[in-house]
Symmetry: C2
Subunit: 147 residues, 2 copies
Amino acid sequence: MSPPKQFSDTIREWAEVFMHRSMRDFKRFMNDSGLSFTQVNLLMRLYHGGKIGVSELGGHLGITNAAASQAIDRLVKDGLIERSEDPQDRRAKRLTLTEEGHALIARGIETRGQWIAGLTEAFTPEQQAMIVSALTLLTEAARKTDE
Amino acid sequence: MSPPKQFSDTIREWAEVFMHRSMRDFKRFMNDSGLSFTQVNLLMRLYHGGKIGVSELGGHLGITNAAASQAIDRLVKDGLIERSEDPQDRRAKRLTLTEEGHALIARGIETRGQWIAGLTEAFTPEQQAMIVSALTLLTEAARKTDE
DNA sequence: TTAATTAGTTAAGAGCGCTTATCTATAATC
DNA sequence: GATTATAGATAAGCGCTCTTAACTAATTAA
């Protein structure tokens, strides 16, 4: 097999397996936490950081600011988000994860991490080191494209 | 930093960045295709292969057979799934992706693959080779745990 | 200071996706 | 052949999530 073909095949297979797995993980997380896809998405965005308002958050999620406001409402009631006035601009709201909300997402990420860690257990230390190097490169590159 | 700490940190960071990115990808795919999370999940399961019935499919998705039946109904109407009688057991249904359904999911996987491929472009050939090796190992290991 | 803009909320209504309960049809068991 | 079990579809109903439209309040521009 020629090198470029091997390269794209590898990536495609990886994408297939991991997309499939990711769906299962998300579904499980949604069921366990009782949250919708949009809600998890929203919490994730807040976890990822950066000041963000209601409308902008809705924009990222591809929904109207009305829908975002309602979704946030429910998450505030659930105690996962805190919504307070922005002292700089009293029209705007500051959205932050509560301790509980932060812990919830952290747990989700941790669970996913454990799965990967479990995958690598059977490998030799050399292989594990290689995987760590590769994932480090990919993570850095992904962070850069995150704008 | 001690080696084991570095290992778990690498995995956790990777999980964080890629979970975040995966959510965005799924959301975009859902919006573009006009499908719900459950529907994409369902199509993905069929794409992944293996004979599977309505109830079992629902079980995998964590929903009742009634819900699965309804979801399938909509996908059949959309022309993404074919539902035919199983000649072996006429109570059961054979569920298969139509050409259109298959192409839709393949396109989603392809898009994701392109993103990864784009990430690696900036790397040296040696780094790319390492990433390919690492992903190959991870893909194989993940396939094994997929039962 | 008045007018226009911006951030967010609220209200009404539509549709989706889920549940339980009921139903039909086929298959397996006695 | 009669009973029981299984696969799936259908119905009624509930709650969630989205939309558009109208609203309040704060900020910016004229």
